[in-house]
Amino acid sequence: MTDHPSDALVVEDIHMAYGDVRAVNGVSFSVRQGEFFGILGPNGAGKTTTLEISEGLRKPDAGSVRLLGESPWPRNVRLLPRIGVQLQASAFFEKLTAREQLETFGDLYGCPPGRAMEMLEMVGLAEKANTPDNKLSGGQRQRLSIACALVHDPDIVFLDEPTAGLDPQSRRNLWDVLREIKARGKTIIYTTHYMDEAETLCDRVAIMDHGKILALDAPAALVRDLDAATRVSLTPGILPEEEARRLPGAESVDTDEISLTITTRTPAPVLTALAERQALDGLQVRTATLEDVFLELTGREYRA
């Protein structure tokens, strides 16, 4: 792997076993500055372990890590002010309010007073400033935890499953926060087991399973390389099945009570033909996703 000067993180062939469990088994990747990098995989894939080794929380059994050009292990105090970390389980001081948590973490990094409120506003928790951490909802805790990771304005941010266990609305809110951080020029390295989310947010994703990286690229490139068929669905009865089969580029047609589905590798002519026939009722176009990539790579359905 080439060590590019603008790489924020370079991980080379790291291994880590807990007893018999090979949690990470030869992982290499590098993250450019300003990149939004996702590590994607089902539970137990080795995402947290990979992240913790990159942060310097764990020493790998083998392999090397360069974080901002330095080794994060053993505890590298010079690096610490430049990295921000949200651990998988949120780490809060007992009995402190949201604002006090941020003030405490801020003071540890020598942040000016007032920074805490600024961060609360950024993650949309300003009105929860005086709420103790145990009275916050799951999504609010995650946002507070992210704010604590960002309070000292680090160059690199590590987030471990920031959206896990949240309802769809909270997840969307968090996406906005993450995009905002990215817009500030931060390098973000984050893990998730939501395929759709990684696809939306990440510049590049590494798909992990059983301690190994199976594929690493931009989500769109991964999907494109899959060369999977596109599925075009319509309200049944709007077009006779026979006619659908004869559309240019149609590979196969299935009908059930809910929809008539045309499978094609060239969706453009199919859609044009449908438009000419005014047969667009209930139109849904489903292209391949990262889930299909996972299925292709592992031979099994993706289950987070």
Partner: protein, 367 residues
Amino acid sequence: MTVTNEDVGQQARTETPSSSHSFKALSRAAFKGFIRDRATLFWTILFPLMFLVIFGLLFNDGGENKTELGVVGDGPVITALEKTGAVEITEFDSQDAALTAVQEGDVPGYVAVDGDTVTVRYAASNQASAGVINGLVDGVVNNANMQAANVQPRFTVDAQQVEDSSLEPIQYLTPGLLAWAVAMGAVFGSALTLVVWRKNQVLRRLRLAPVSPLAILSSRLTVSIGIAFVQAFVFIALALLPVFGLQLSGQWYLAVPLVALGTLAFFAIGMLVGSFSKTEESASGAANLVVLPMAFLSGSFFPIDQTPEWLQAVSMVLPMRHLNDGLSAVLVRGQGLEAILLPCGVLIAFAVVVGFIASRVFTWDDA
């Protein structure tokens, strides 16, 4: 390698983080965590105070142990007995009633005066009280006889009270229970903080922040010492109330270094307990296992000189024994600086040795 910071917003890190910053922030966090936790407040402040109140009231009624004595009739002998101040008199209407009371164990004996006859009956089971009663009645009757016969006594006894080493209950209960309370607060404070911070990942998070382990440790220790001073103040203030009647000696301020060093020693013990415990339950169990027997063996709840010699010797290896000795020397026995030198030395030695072991077995996380 250089990294350009493209953040256009306000620069967050205006100054390099200093230890004093971290120390203050963590002390504040630990202090707030402590005073907002009702359970901890109860166990460290109120619970030991309850012991002081209960023991103080139980052992303090009347202060002295007087022998009870039943009397029947009246006259100069009875009056003289009352004046000795050594017996607590219960009056009975008849000798039969008094005899029944003795037989039932309500009083250890009775004295009946009928004209010139003085009758004494006492319970066979209580030789000590019998001796006191016999001696007293003999003396009083002899005096009365001499006065009646107009004889000048040949021998006179000059008796005066001398302060001895045994103390009023409140005088040993206050330093003893205070030592126990300080030890409990310090052990629980450090052990539980360590376990909770390891469990809720705060320790790992702190490991990723530019903060020295020394700042983490000293901030929590400072809070513990502050709590110990509050405990000492509340304890002594309560014991000084007239109901309890503590007599504080003039050198009480020498308790300040003792309380601080006692907290230090027990804080170190708590660190060790916290290093070995995975859960809060096991930590508080282990802390109780260390502190409670130590308090009994060190004489926190009763005077140590009432225990067997060998136990007194063994208890010299316990830090709480020395904290007890030091506190009682300066709080109630009126001893000076020389009396706290050994206790302070022992407490410092304990803190250093136990603290060293604790730092060896310390882990940031439980993985």
